[in-house]
Structures are given as structure tokens and as C-alpha cells.
Assembly symmetry: C2
Homo-oligomer: 180 residues x 2
């Protein structure tokens, strides 16, 4: 792992724990075992560092969720596989899940993150599209609002503490949207 990656890795852990404003550049530097000025050698600002952390995190999540359901199968199976992959990600990639969850409200409301907001809305849109296709293939109740379902799914992020609860939240969502 080269230096740039070490900094990114320390940054995502720090941001996940304490949030963007709760962490100083110097603390990230210490976690990465480098001097603060070196961070400014690789990244133009704290904002840009966070931007890259957030984008990489969302890339990983989106890739994990959509790559596994690319194969054949009914839309019922696709959506179930998607939700299963979702549980798997929240369980096994906790740091990335936490950074997305912790900073989501700020990213979605503060002007300076407007491009990250668009990125996240694109992610929601892809989930909504999956649900919508499920409707056309008779797997999803046809009075379901796809974007509402997408928001509900992605909102389950935060509550991954007590084991088992997330699974039950997802199965509740499944009953709400999937036929039979």
C-alpha cells in the first residue's frame, strides 16, 4: 500500500468515527503515520480529501450491490440478491458503511458538497430503477413508488449495531414491496 492509499485509509476510518468536522488533518496524518504537510502534497485540501473518500466509498458500495446481481434470474431473485448483498456490505464493510451514514445528512444539505449529493442521488436512482424494473416484471407491487423504496433501503444504513435487526428491517421492506 503506497503513501496516498495509506492516507486515504486513515481518512476513511477517521471520518467514519468522528465525522468531517470532528477530525483534524493532523489527526489523519498521525493515524497514517505521516506528517500533515504530506497530506497537502497528495491532496489539495481537506475538502478534496473527503470528496475522494466519499466517492470511493460510494463506488465500492454501488459496485458491491450491483455487480453480484448482473447475472440471469428473475427480478424477484435480483431484488432479493440485492438486499442480501446490502446486508452483507453493512456487516462486513463497517467503516465504509459508517462514513456514508454519518456524513450523509451533511452531504445532502450543504452547498459545498452539491456534486457529492448528485452522486448519491444517482446511486438512489439506480436502486429506484431496479425496483421499477421489478414492477414491470411483476415482482413488485405496482403501486410502489420506486424512489421511496430506494430511500427506505438506503436509510437502513445507520442501524447496524444490534446483530439481526438489520436483517429483520430488510425482510420487512421485502414484504412491503415484493409480491408473495
Amino acid at each position: 500500500m503506497d503513501t496516498r492509499e495509506k492516507i486515504l485509509s486513515a481518512a476513511v476510518r477517521a471520518f467514519a468515527e468522528k465525522g468531517f468536522n470532528g477530525v483534524s488533518v493532523d489527526e489523519i496524518a498521525k493515524r497514517a503515520g505521516v506528517k500533515k504537510a504530506l497530506i497537502y502534497y497528495y491532496f489539495p485540501s481537506k475538502d478534496e480529501l473527503f470528496r475522494e473518500v466519499w466517492e470511493k466509498s460510494l463506488d465500492e458500495l454501488e459496485n458491491h450491490l450491483f455487480s453480484e446481481i448482473e447475472g440471469e434470474g428473475s427480478y424477484m431473485k435480483k431484488i432479493k440478491g440485492f438486499l442480501k448483498a446490502y446486508i452483507d456490505f453493512v456487516t462486513n464493510r463497517k467503516v465504509i458503511s459508517e462514513v456514508i451514514n454519518k456524513e450523509r445528512a451533511s452531504v445532502m444539505s450543504e452547498d459545498k458538497w452539491s456534486n457529492l449529493k448528485e452522486r448519491y442521488e444517482g446511486f438512489l436512482g439506480r436502486i429506484a430503477q431496479l425496483i421499477d424494473e421489478g414492477k414491470r416484471y411483476n415482482a413488485v407491487y405496482d403501486d410502489i413508488d420506486p424512489l421511496a423504496a430506494a430511500n427506505l433501503i438506503s436509510g437502513s444504513f445507520g442501524h447496524s449495531e444490534k446483530p439481526g435487526v438489520l436483517e429483520k428491517m430488510i425482510s420487512l421492506i421485502m414484504r412491503g414491496i415484493l409480491k408473495k
Copy 2:
């Protein structure tokens, strides 16, 4: 409105917009039209000020949700009324909704807010209890996990931007938990 209340009112607005670490005590003072030192006359620290803001916000939310459904009526009606009150609160008390949503992840994970975490878990517990009673009175599917449902409902907080989406999220939850 006395000075203390003016400070609290400015604080909840500031915390809702920028989060705990994104706002300085001096900015809260300026919004309240007082000098910073006066905040320390009424509150021992920024942490304690936030603590009171959070507790008051949760008190208002909990009171709004549970006071309206105290009357008679079936549990089906109670739970529907509860979810309707929820939509009403998120729509009409945006500042309070936002402060709860924006700082929830930090409150639930950082040690220094452990008492606020317990407070929030008590709130979730009350929702779960309502769902559980709904099960015993045949209004809720009996394989529903009450705490999972409570988490799902309270997680819908963040996504109140586009009007109408929240309502559709809630009706999706209703289909997931309520019989018929």
C-alpha cells in the same frame, strides 16, 4: 421569550444546519443576538448546550407522536395515527427533525453522548412497544420484529426533501407491518 430560550432556539437552528462540530459557540451567540460569554453564563459548556437541545428535541418529537394517539380506538388506528403524526412532525417541525437526523449517527456512536444514546433507545423502545401491542391486538403481522420496525420508521427521518416521498415511504412501511 427569555434569553435562555433565545440561545436554545438559535442553537437548535445552527446545529440543524451545520451539525455540532460545524458550528462555533460564537456563531450561536451571534444568531441569538448575545455575546458568547453569556452562553457560558447559562450553559456550562458547548457539550451541555447540545445535550439540552437534543433532549428537548426528542421530548417534542416523542410528545407529538404519542400524545395524539392516547385516546381510544383500535391499534390499527393508533399505529396509523402514529405514522400520520410522524409525517406531520417531519413536515412542520423541520428544524427539530433535522437536528435529530443530522446528529443521530454521532450521538449513537460517540462515547461522550452515551446518555443521549440511551435516551434515543428509549424512544425507539416506545415505538417498538406500540408495534408489539399492535401484534397482540391482531393489527400487526405476528412475525414482525418490533425493534426492526421502530428503526425503519425512525430511519425515514432524513429523506424529507422531495415532497410526497416521505408519505410513500410510510405507506410502504404500513404495508410491511399492518394487516390488510
